[in-house]
Symmetry: C2
Subunit: 340 residues, 2 copies
Amino acid sequence: MDYEIFELGDVLLQSGAILPQAFLAYKTYGTLNANKDNVIIFPTSFGDQHYQNEWLIGANKALNPEKYFIIIPNMLGNGLSSSPSNTASPFEKANFPNVTIFDNVALQHRLITERFGINQIALATGWSMGAIQAFQWGASYPDMVERLAPFAGTAKTWPHNAVLIEGIRAALQADAAWNKGVYTAPPEVGLRTLGRVYASWGFSQAFYREERFKELGYSSLSDFISQFWEGSFIHSDANDLLAMMWTWQHSDISKNPIYGGDFTLALHSIKARTVVMPVRTDLYFTPEDSEYETKHIPNATFRPIESIWGHLAGFGLNPADTDFIDCTLKELLEKNETRT
Amino acid sequence: MDYEIFELGDVLLQSGAILPQAFLAYKTYGTLNANKDNVIIFPTSFGDQHYQNEWLIGANKALNPEKYFIIIPNMLGNGLSSSPSNTASPFEKANFPNVTIFDNVALQHRLITERFGINQIALATGWSMGAIQAFQWGASYPDMVERLAPFAGTAKTWPHNAVLIEGIRAALQADAAWNKGVYTAPPEVGLRTLGRVYASWGFSQAFYREERFKELGYSSLSDFISQFWEGSFIHSDANDLLAMMWTWQHSDISKNPIYGGDFTLALHSIKARTVVMPVRTDLYFTPEDSEYETKHIPNATFRPIESIWGHLAGFGLNPADTDFIDCTLKELLEKNETRT
């Protein structure tokens, strides 16, 4: 295995449930310097594991492991950190407790403070649900996070995004083989259906109009849907996906004891120098929602990714979008001015 | 029953299949005048039946039955005209042949010429798949259609729209009770899932952000999804919906012997004075696609419905959108200039 495990012991979740013998799987890149001030945290997104973030890391990139100590914590429910698929009774499978973004980030905070003695984060970044976690880092630990760069993600799950989740959850659960989470073989029909429904959300209308999937090596729309989209979820555990959907649907950086649900206050409390990068054509983490949020973060810049790759402009598939994100991160990391 | 039946006999479809004893269900409003030149044709849309078009008809409206003879033909597959659910073996249920938009309009043409002796249409209009049929009227019978006013619909199903259909079809078919179309009881889970998936497409992000569903009498998002959206399809026959999805997915006004697949030529051949009304926030019949099409129709105006009600701005739920459509139709109908 190419990652480490951090044992958390029995963890009290926001819901009041105790997740016994919880653990985070994580991977680091580069070396922590003596001052412990070269840290970048880069959480994972829905259905993804740490290696799916690696496209943004490299010696020529902003996330340069020769310079920075980059930590990718796997989010709870993703099959590597504590998840329905790897937790013992009585919290196995569909019995896994509901976990919030706040929980995820609190445990990631334990990882970096307890294991590494880190008290300062040069940059928190992430895509999609990873972006939500980055926002939560900025709101939960405002004095610790120097820079914040969420891309294709918002500080809460806005209503239409929640409706989309209702659809993909129903798609997965429509397969009787899912059997309320008690299955021995994967509910393959449900997983494929989830992929087919997701296909129309992941990329923009213009992406499909221009058949940009051909740049990814697919010769037809039909192949792209079957191979790329059904393939995106077919190897995932259904209960894991459902656990992450719950987390996603209930995301809100203010829904915690610090902010008591005051979303504007939570945004306003972020101290990091922030660059918010929505994708112009993202159909569910919309630029409009990001623009609203940016206005409420004191030291934030709105820098949309002008791409027709939709939400997946932030997934490392399109070189132009990757360059834009990378350049924006480089610019942000080079800024050393005092925070406002 | 509040509608009429027009018997078509055995019908040769575009696919080469013969649909035996086919029929169209239709309803008329108003009286055909002596010149037979006061005709408005207003086809139905996906999952809908004629009564769901009636919101746009009234004595104070553009579609005034005191002035016009308005015909609403039910599209094939909608459960009233020939459909999987009402056709005898060997074409019953999943064995129903594939029907195109071209087929639908050719049969509607027989209805109005053979039954009524009509040779002139003052206006062809419709919403969504009804709009596609209106476009087909303009392209199949350019000398017959004086005015054309499709709203929230395009002249073909553009690629992203086709991807959406892949998703909703998969959602319905994920229910094992669907059983490849051979069921005795409705595949209720699949029908509900279809509704839940559709929920995120039917209205815009802003509609949900602003909780505009409250204007429809729903107190919560959850109620809206369960009652409005699941309710939208739960009473439909699954094979009927699948037949209409096939028609929808393969829509293209040029895919027929007249135009041989030359989409631009088909658009260019429309002679009607045309007003194209996409909804600015429609997520699948996009204003961009409509704008492209408008540019290729000689006598066409692009008049987007500036609404956050998304695709369903054309479903008669929001008074402001209904007024906009009605006023635009009034203006169009009042124009009597010679066609270019």
